[in-house]
Symmetry: C2
Subunit: 258 residues, 2 copies
């Protein structure tokens, strides 16, 4: 069953990748959601609709949680649930035509079984099947090095720099070897999986931003929590600290509630 699901997902993702690339030369219609930095395009919506159509056709009993169609948050702790982020990093998609990804995951009874992050413009598919390891295309990924903060690049979401008061991550900002802000949760997580960065901190993500990544993280010994070190809620908006164990501990230990 898992193998059939995996095969279907890889096939669907290939179709979505071809679709996205074909759209890059056309006029993309951009709509603002909550702010000028929170946008959606017609491509996001079309990808999500295609996924939902495929899932409903092939797996009619399954539930779907999609970024563009979700109307509220609820716990999906029973049954088969697909989680879709049609384009993570939509602003990068529009502005840069790179550094975005298509993400999809399958959770069964609240446990991540399959997770996929497709870096379309680099033709690179990262995925994990629970208990079977994590892969980049068909190459098995190794666990990233368990470094300390001062020898690592750390990815932050940019909301931290607009805070007027001191950031709860001042220790991280001043002690990491380098700070990066790349505007994409998926690419921040991929940088950890690739042993390039070693942690990613975001003040507020929603389930479709991280659930696919967590399945891959689990296979690579990468740990995660909320900002204060609590277990991550899977089905509601949350802060996120994800990284290799040593750095994750350093970040949580230095977190200061203002």
């Amino acid at each position: 069953m898992i193998e059939k699901l995996h095969g279907d997902i890889v096939f669907w993702l290939q179709q979505m990748g071809t679709f996205v690339k074909s759209c890059m030369q056309e006029n993309i219609s951009v709509t603002t959601k909550t702010s000028l930095s929170d946008i959606v395009t017609n491509i996001d919506c079309e990808i999500e609709e295609k996924f939902i159509h495929y899932i409903h056709t092939h797996y009619p009993s399954h539930s779907v949680l999609g970024e563009e169609s979700a109307s509220h948050f609820k716990a999906y702790n029973q049954g088969y649930v697909w989680i879709i982020d049609p384009i993570d990093g939509t602003l990068n998609f529009v502005k840069e035509q790179k550094n975005f990804a298509i993400m999809i995951a399958l959770y069964i009874d609240g446990v991540g079984q399959l997770g996929y992050i497709f870096d379309v413009m680099n033709d690179t598919l990262y995925y994990a099947i629970k208990g079977q390891g994590a892969y980049c295309n068909n190459h098995k990924l190794n666990k990233p090095d368990d470094l300390d903060l001062k020898h690592s690049l750390i990815s932050l979401s940019s909301c931290f720099i607009v805070q007027e008061h001191s950031s709860p991550y001042r220790h991280v900002m001043t002690n990491a070897q380098g700070i990066r802000m790349i505007g994409s949760a998926s690419h921040s997580m991929l940088a950890i999986f690739n042993n390039h960065y070693h942690a990613y901190i975001s003040a507020k993500l929603r389930p479709w931003d991280f659930l696919a990544g967590l399945v891959i993280a689990d296979e690579l010994g990468i740990v995660y929590s909320t900002a204060d070190g609590s277990p991550l809620p899977l089905w509601e908006p949350t802060s996120l600290v994800i990284g290799t164990p040593h750095i994750h501990h350093e970040i949580i230990s230095s977190y200061k509630v203002n």
Copy 2:
């Protein structure tokens, strides 16, 4: 003469690119300079040595200013002067194996005549010849759109987020469509040339970090100054605000000296 120089530089850069790629699989020796984030590798030094050897062999009367061999700052307002940044974004080179570039420029009597930014891992050479336009490989670049801040991505150097007090760029941080920190002056400038980002702000750069980029910027109508809007000193460490005219004006106008 300019055409011969251009041909030589392109040939040298191709050789350097091949050399860098051949080194990616080997052990790269990293040495710390002023801090853990300010590093140099044996590859940086070898590239600079190769450039200096080429220049001294082919153009023995020319001067050279190189990041790794410069011992002091002085004005080079007379004669032919080569400026070399063997690897801009050395931390990215070591950690990510991407998002770095080789930069070289030729200034004659203090005026930029030739500027080159070679994105090695993407096999993409950006360059400009004064008065002849700017190119990406052999494709002529268009002027980037002259947008406003709230519709643009802005690249910042990460030093701004370690400031305990309020940043002089708080207005930029809170009003830009998005903030990015990518750890490379060259790639920040390339993002402007490519119409992806529209400004780049750094608190402190040195001549080899920006002189090649300025030659390209001039050809694309991109403007630059120090943080307070003063003319950029070419031959000493300086702050830099570079961007399309509208945004450059917005940034300079909102700059607050703390």
